[in-house]
Structure formats: structure tokens, C-alpha cells
């Protein structure tokens, strides 16, 4: 109760006016007010307290934890379309109508990504219209790195070479639009069987000559 002689009061309303310039705001010290003891502040303007502790404009927490809250970082004034990053336990919509993602997320135009334990997720959409899962990089209990898409292709694009140092398993269709280059493939490096679709009618080469042009060989059986 403001102005009361009662101590240790609970209060229902605190209005802190920032009209006064200079040292004005809400300040927390530990263990007591003094140099180096400012552990938190909430002020309209940056300044320095009477003990020489500098504090910023807005909220400053210099020790402790944020628990049970969501964090939102805006690009300038908080507004629709201005959400830059968020930390949230669950997806939702902020006070300005921006739809945000679960986890530690960043937003840029029609793309967003979110880090959730074990996965880096990618989304398309917008802050106004919401986000659609597009792809993710994740790991599994076996320590595998898994890259998957919701429906799009996976493109490895490099200005230089792409090197696979382990084995390559293709469980789907394998196609190539390039070639081996002039060095070709070393003898004996192609193994396995070919099916009818790729090999045409089964056949056996006999003696004689045949020509290979642009990867197609023709001969007379």
C-alpha cells in the first residue's frame, strides 16, 4: 500500500514514471547497493547509478535465469513482420500477430529455421501466414546425420568438388547428367548386375568389333 506505515506489503500495482531524468527506474542490488552490486535494472534511459554502475535503457538482468518464458527479438520496433528471432517452448503467435516456431528460431522473409534438440529444421512461409516444414538436418541415437526434405529435392551444390569419403548407398533411382570425364573409370571398378530396364535385352558380346559413341554401343549380334 503506497505511503503506508505497514511493512512487507504485497502490491497490486506499480507504476514507475520515467518522466524524471537522471537516476530513475527499478534497480536491484546484491548484497546491498554499491559499486559492482547492480544485478538488474529496468530504466527508460541508459545511465549510471550513484554507485558508478552503468545500466542500459530497458531491462537488464546481469545474474540469474529466465525460466518459463518465451523470448522475442525484433528487427526494430516490435510489430507485424518484424520478428527476427524467438526462443519458445511451443509454437504460437506473438502479440503482433507474428507466428513463431518452437525452439530457437530465426526468421527472414519467407524462410525460417528452428533448432530443437537434435534437429535443425527449415521452414517456408511467412510470419503472417505461418510456417510449413520443408526440411531438416537431424541425428539419431546411432549418431547418424540425417538430411531429409518434406517433398523437395536435396541438392549438393559446390563451386569445387563434392567428395564422399565413405560408401554411397542409393536406395532410389540413380541418374547422372554428367560423365566421368576424360579419365573414365579405372578397369574393374564397375561391379554388379544390370537389369533389363537399363541394359536392354540381355545379350552376350562375341568376337568382332563394336563402336561406342556418346555412351551408346551398338553392334551386330
Amino acid at each position: 500500500m503506497a505511503g503506508s506505515s505497514w511493512t512487507n506489503q504485497l502490491v497490486n500495482l506499480i507504476i514507475l514514471s520515467a518522466a524524471q531524468t537522471g537516476f530513475s527506474g527499478f534497480f536491484v542490488y546484491s548484497p546491498a547497493p554499491g559499486p559492482g552490486n547492480l544485478i538488474g535494472s529496468w530504466a527508460a534511459a541508459a545511465g549510471t547509478d550513484p554507485y558508478g554502475n552503468a545500466y542500459p535503457a530497458g531491462l537488464s538482468v546481469e545474474t540469474g535465469n529466465f525460466t518459463g518464458i518465451d523470448l522475442f527479438l525484433y528487427n526494430g520496433t516490435p510489430a507485424a513482420g518484424n520478428l527476427l528471432a524467438s526462443v519458445a517452448a511451443a509454437a504460437g503467435t506473438d502479440a503482433h500477430g507474428n507466428q513463431y516456431l518452437q525452439g530457437i528460431a530465426t526468421y527472414s522473409g519467407t524462410f525460417a529455421n528452428a533448432m530443437i534438440g537434435g534437429a535443425l529444421e527449415y521452414f517456408t512461409g511467412s510470419e503472417a501466414g505461418g510456417w510449413t516444414f520443408a526440411a531438416q538436418i537431424e541425428t539419431d541415437p546411432g549418431g547418424d546425420l540425417i538430411v531429409e526434405t518434406a517433398g523437395g529435392t536435396l541438392t549438393l551444390s559446390a563451386a569445387g568438388n563434392v567428395t564422399l569419403s565413405g560408401g554411397l548407398t542409393v536406395s532410389g533411382t540413380f541418374s547422372a547428367s554428367g560423365n566421368t570425364g576424360s579419365a573414365g573409370l579405372p578397369n574393374g571398378t564397375i561391379n554388379g548386375t544390370s537389369g533389363a530396364a537399363s541394359a536392354g535385352t540381355a545379350h552376350t558380346h562375341g568376337g568382332g568389333s563394336y563402336a561406342v559413341t556418346n555412351g551408346v554401343h551398338s553392334h551386330t549380334l
Partner: protein
Amino acid sequence: MASYVDLGTPGPNTAGPDQTGRNRGNLTNALTSSFINVTIAVYECYHINVTNVPVGAAATIMRNGRQYSYTQPFGGSEWDPSQPMGLFAGDEIDFLWNVVSGTTPLPVVTAYFRYDQDLAVNKSG
């Protein structure tokens, strides 16, 4: 200049179901005239402490049925006023708590009184 005589306290008063009729169904500390037991004509309450306050409970403090103060302490509180509460013999102080009578813990109010022995009214009788 006042010449105070400390009357001390009649002791702690533990809240119970309201008997004043002003806080029906809730807890009330009724410091009745018989509880205060001061027969000095004019005296003062200069200090009160409240303990055992249930979480979230608040009290409207009445002097003779009129609101005098209000407190919403966190667990307990002390009242050290800039101006003491003036009282006449027979007056009553009530703490009307906004919690139902079955609430625990029961608030305990301890009030301290004094009087000015130089007041003419306190010298007679």
C-alpha cells in the same frame, strides 16, 4: 509535549470466525474493548505487528466500525505509523481478513498502546 506511559500489549490476538457482523464467513481479529482492556480515557495505539498471515490474505482494519487502514502483507507485517491511532476507552479495533474462516494459518495481531499522562482527561478519575 506529551508524556507517554507505555501500556504495552494485551497480548497476541488470534483470528477466528467473524463475530463482528462486518466480515461474515471470514476470519477476523477482533480487538474488542474487553480484549484491549484499557480504561484510560484517551490513549493511543502506536505499534501493531501481524504474523501468520495466509498467502494472499489482506485485511481491512476498522476502528469502531469505520475503515482505518488496509494491509496485504506477505506472511507478516509491522505498523509503525507517523501518527498513532487515537482511541477512547471502550474503542475496538478489528482486522477483517478477506479469507474464509476455515483458512489457515490463523493471523495473529499484537497491538501496543500508550497514553499521555499529561492530558487533563487522563488525570481525572
